[in-house]
Symmetry: C2
């Protein structure tokens, strides 16, 4: 069982790597090699009993995709992407990596010939949806992205579905909720505060809250995200009946519910570190985001997320605080 992680240097890629190393097998087969691919060389733990190879390059170059796929990995996790904000500002870069890059990867797989049909788990995003939304977004709701990133993800889903329907790839696309609590330093992403208002206080630091406490959003932990990816790799895709794209389960919570959970888990001193500082630009962006989903299909298929925000905070403390 040879595994390839495209985007292996990213936060979710690294979480996935750790869970895979702990698990030691995938689809009931012993893992014999892990290839970590990214635009930079991905970090990895030393002294693992599974050989890890790192490769790096630009997936908009078809030679790069062909070279990575030449070793015929059995399972490919495709997480490589230009993030939303950058794809919105750099139109060509976003389309080249996020759409043409995915297409090139699928073509590289196809060009290996009929006897090669790896499981490809593609990481999509709820950014494929664009406001206005129903109260809960259902599995059969249409994709009207309001960012180039969302359009690129939606197009990659359609490509993977057609290559899979044709038997060239054994694909599945999973749309991740916003990942919370994201470890590491604050970043400039518009969604950054959802993690920041939990992470910074837990680290004894102030956090800025740029929106009202009634804002509702859709969350899952990094641990769940890695769990979704592994479950997607192990699932019998025949059950998907050609509808290979799934909204992942998550937790719908308001900012107030996040703050209340922080109070319960870490006390009122932590809550006091959250500073309300309204930002109309961020408020406007966030008002176009999905708030809640009905993900019965993926729950029935065995995907699992957190049940309340206390749990989300505790997982951050267990997995990432002071590490």
């Amino acid at each position: 069982m040879k595994i390839l992680i495209m985007g292996g240097a990213g936060m979710v890629g690294q979480k996935l790597l750790k869970q895979i190393l702990k698990k030691q097998d995938l689809r009931s087969q012993k893992i014999t090699e892990i290839i970590l691919f990214d635009i930079i060389e991905a970090p990895y733990p030393e002294n693992t009993n599974i050989p890890i190879i790192t490769k790096f390059g630009d997936i908009s170059d078809s030679n790069v995709s062909n070279e990575i796929i030449a070793s015929k990995p059995d399972v490919i996790f495709h997480l490589a992407a230009i993030v939303s904000g950058q794809a919105e500002q750099e139109f060509d870069l976003g389309w080249n990596i996020n759409a043409k890059g995915s297409w090139g990867l699928f073509e590289a797989i196809r060009s290996q010939g009929d006897d090669y049909c790896p499981r490809v788990v593609f990481t999509s995003s709820i950014a494929v949806f664009g406001a206005p939304f129903p109260e809960k977004i259902t599995d059969d709701f249409f994709t009207t992205p309001l960012t180039s990133y969302g359009a690129q993800k939606a197009i990659s889903e359609l490509l993977l579905a057609d290559y899979s329907r044709k038997g060239m790839i054994d694909g599945i696309s999973i749309r991740l909720p916003t990942i919370c609590v994201r470890p590491g330093k604050p970043n400039l992403a518009a969604s950054g505060f959802f993690s920041g208002i939990i992470r910074e206080p837990l680290n004894g630091k102030e956090a800025i809250l740029p929106v009202g406490t009634d804002v509702r959003h859709w969350h899952a932990t990094p641990r769940s995200a890695a769990g979704f990816l592994i479950h997607a790799a192990e699932l019998d895709t025949k059950k998907l009946n050609n509808r290979i794209t799934l909204n992942m389960p998550g937790l719908s919570a308001t900012v107030q519910e996040q703050i209340d959970a922080l109070g319960r888990v870490a006390g009122n001193d932590a809550v006091k570190l959250i500073k309300h500082q309204p930002d109309p630009v961020i408020q406007k962006i966030v008002s176009g985001w999905a708030r809640d989903f009905d993900t019965q299909r993926s729950i029935d298929l065995g995907f699992k997320a957190e049940n309340n925000f206390d749990e989300i905070i505790k997982i951050y403390i267990e997995d990432d605080l002071n590490k």
Copy 2:
């Protein structure tokens, strides 16, 4: 007002050309030139008062798109496509023309620079939908194509929407019903019998009906299709609020309703020319097709189709019989 029709040699392209020549203006501006583009040289009437230029080539070649767009047409009707059956059999050809070809066209427009933002009317298809369906498909139903053609159309819609959201193109995508009654000779398309059972008897010939009379499908005439295209070219796209893809109105009718209408319009002798000859292959294909739609949004935006099948037959008689 300079108009470009991509796919100008096809049946709908030719109907559009005729309606445009009759109308003489578009978007309240006098038409000064019509460019007909296709893979072959498109036919056109002689002695028109509007200059008509024909060009031909392969739109998967970006040089071809760049050359067509260099004259900066004000309105572009993009109907050029490899048809469904062929795209399913010739994977590369379908993707090259129907997806990369559209993308190349949009890129050619963008590369002309910021002062050029033409109206692009893209002809999409109900093939973006794949069974199982609700009884009526609503405007917010998701796209799960079960043909490469459907996937290519869905991807082109997403591309056009993003280029339009970014202000590079003023785009609109319209998903046409099955065109009925299609003039001309019988063809091998699985959907051919919907037209054949009307057209052949009206021409005194036998027609084969390969499915049961309870099969329900979604129809509009060639006249309506050309009307949709013109209305889409004239519509204020600000009203679309970034959701630029529209299911066109149509008529949902069973084969029995088609036959009853034929009897009313042309008498029982015409009906007797329909020979039931069940074909399990065609039955299976047709069972995956959409039967009915709720197209309130496009109706509210002023798109109009036929109200009953008698009307559909009468339009064929007026526009195409013995011509």
